[in-house]
């Protein structure tokens, strides 16, 4: 059934509507404040007619407004498409072209980038009806309608489409429903042992499916969720200082960076912590070493996928070695096991995603008979212990965000002087992995120009951290030899 997120959250027993459940740089919000906010957006949306089955894109960096809008759109049976406010012209336009939203809520400008202009340019280019709501503060919205024939509505029961950049330059949309969110909520509550008395600090973008599920789970459980809207460290540090938390969820690289900046004030930041949940990247020995002195707090690793939610978490503190436990209802298997005992991890849950938006072919490729082929290569030891050894797909995990090499390779080869480009991920102490590009060029061009070329087109974290010009790309058995390229990158780097 569509449109029931609101009921799921608010039809709880012992609902204390005055309890403060959300704090961000914007302010504090109780369940009552959220209910009122949702009502306002419902009446705003009703003014433009029925939105059932319509795709509603949200480029809304203010978390309370984002939450209110999300619940309002869902209540009216529209389909929510959260879009990261860290995207730039090229990657944003590609997502808009792919999703073709009927309605867009966008902040006008954010971090020096003009979102309104990019949204207008796209809406005018497709010459179909689009309703654009824009705002300076995510509170007061102006409406603008780009005229044209209406787009058809969705007939499938989709609640949310989470977007990621695809490997071929075409984005991927992960379609999920309320059952998926309920499953992830259960998994997060179990792994983080959430209760009403908790104050949970989140350094996770809520425009991603993981962050969005964490936000909804926290509100549903009436936890006090303190979540940063800004990813600038002084802002994060200030927020955590004002609202010291007993639980924290983020990626290993963001946690490490936070710790490097604040470790002289152990009492304020780390003493209150009982559980730190880390996800989005693997845990490196370097990470374990950095955080070894944090006492009396359990650090766990969470393993999940946009498509299936949170699947496993480490039972014990990761500093004593990782032993995985399955979240309630999840099943795993290892297939195509090699002689060395390494195979691909497959997972099954009672409520996985509904498929990739408009790509049944892609869905079929990785999701068969309820089993999802993760692309993660694992070794099974001592019966049930699982050790991650690599990835079949060569996705880069930088700071908890995913960077798809194919997207950046395509961007680089759009430059007139670039003949060939190959992008690899290389371990880095701050980023987790850094993005390294090798290019073969024709004519005269220096790397400085290539960096500038990428700068304004895609989200900053996707811009290569290093670009090397090479005479040719090494090939092994007819395929690009990424192993050699990673080796070159390590040799060429000073760290």
């Amino acid at each position: 059934m569509m449109g029931s997120l609101y009921q799921w959250i608010f039809n709880s027993e012992n609902l204390d509507v005055n309890k403060k459940v959300l704090t961000t740089q914007t302010g504090d919000f109780s369940l009552y404040d959220i209910q009122k906010g949702v009502e306002i957006y419902i009446s705003l949306l009703k003014r433009i007619g029925a939105i059932r089955g319509k795709r509603v894109a949200l480029i809304v960096p203010s978390v309370p407004s984002f939450l209110n809008l999300l619940l309002a759109v869902n209540q009216l049976e529209g389909i929510i498409v959260p879009i990261s406010p860290f995207l730039r012209k090229d990657d944003l336009t590609k997502i808009l072209e792919f999703i073709k939203p009927h309605i867009v809520f966008t902040i006008k400008q954010y971090n020096g980038f003009d979102f309104s202009k990019t949204v207008y340019d796209w809406a005018h280019s497709i010459k179909e009806e689009t309703v654009i709501f824009e705002s300076d503060d995510c509170l007061n919205w102006g409406t603008l309608v780009v005229e044209g024939p209406p787009k058809p509505v969705e007939n499938e029961c989709i609640d949310i489409i989470g977007c990621t950049s695809g490997s071929t330059g075409i984005p991927k949309g992960v379609m999920v429903d309320l059952e998926f969110i309920k499953f992830t909520a259960e998994a997060l509550s179990t792994s983080m042992v959430l209760s009403k008395e908790d104050r949970l600090f989140g350094m996770v973008p809520v425009s991603g499916l993981f962050g969005l599920c964490l936000l909804l789970t926290a509100i549903k459980r009436q936890v006090h969720f303190v979540v940063t809207e800004s990813f600038s460290f002084p802002d994060i540090i200030q927020l955590l200082k004002e609202h010291s938390a007993n639980k924290l969820v983020t990626s290993p690289s963001l946690f490490r960076a936070l710790y490097l900046l604040t470790r002289d004030d152990e009492d304020t930041f780390y003493k209150p912590l009982t559980i730190v949940g880390l996800g989005g990247e693997s845990i490196s020995p370097d990470f374990i070493q950095t955080v070894s002195s944090i006492k009396n707090c359990k650090m766990i690793n969470m393993y999940g996928l946009s498509e299936l939610g949170c699947i496993m978490f480490s039972k014990n503190d990761i500093r004593t070695g990782i032993e995985w436990a399955l979240t309630p209802g999840a099943e795993i298997n290892v297939v195509n096991v090699s002689d060395e005992g390494i195979g691909e991890l497959t997972v099954k849950t009672p409520n996985g995603f509904l498929g990739y938006y408009q790509r049944p072919d892609l869905t079929e490729e990785v999701y068969r008979n309820g089993w999802f082929y993760t692309g993660d290569l694992v070794r099974v030891t001592n019966g049930a212990k699982i050790e991650f050894v690599g990835r079949k797909k060569d996705m880069i995990k930088k700071g908890g965000q995913q960077v798809i090499p194919g997207e950046i390779e395509k961007l680089l080869t759009d430059h007139p002087n670039v003949e060939k480009a190959v992008v690899v991920g290389v371990p880095h102490s701050i980023f987790g992995e850094q993005v390294v590009a090798f290019v073969v060029v024709r004519g005269k061009v220096d790397t400085g120009e290539l960096y500038s070329f990428c700068q304004d087109k895609v989200a900053r974290y996707k811009v290569p951290d290093q670009i090397f010009i090479v005479d040719e790309i090494p090939v092994s058995q007819g395929k690009v030899d990424k192993v050699t390229l990673r080796q070159w990158a390590l040799e060429k780097n000073y760290k």
Binding site: G112, S232, L261
Partner: protein, 77 residues
């Protein structure tokens, strides 16, 4: 370290052309530097200046290039 040297260092680390980096450039809005890049940059600058980052973090101005330069120079004195 002179401002010119500081500017060069920022350019080297962030791969932003040195002529785009001025005293009043905002790291986030003008140079588009994101959070982890900023931490990476701070760590590198602190290492060059032989300062312990976590000791001085609360006194650093992260907003503009000139502001960060001034706050680092002050720490060194």
């Amino acid at each position: 370290m002179s401002f010119e040297e500081f500017r060069q260092l920022i350019s080297e680390i962030s791969k932003i052309p040195v002529e785009q980096i001025n005293k009043n450039s905002s790291f986030r809005n003008d140079l588009g530097i994101d959070s982890l890049q900023m931490v990476n940059l701070l760590i590198e600058v602190a290492a060059k200046l032989k300062l312990e980052l976590h000791m001085i973090q609360s006194r650093l101005d992260f907003q503009t290039v000139g502001g960060l330069y001034e706050s680092f120079v002050k720490e060194r004195e």
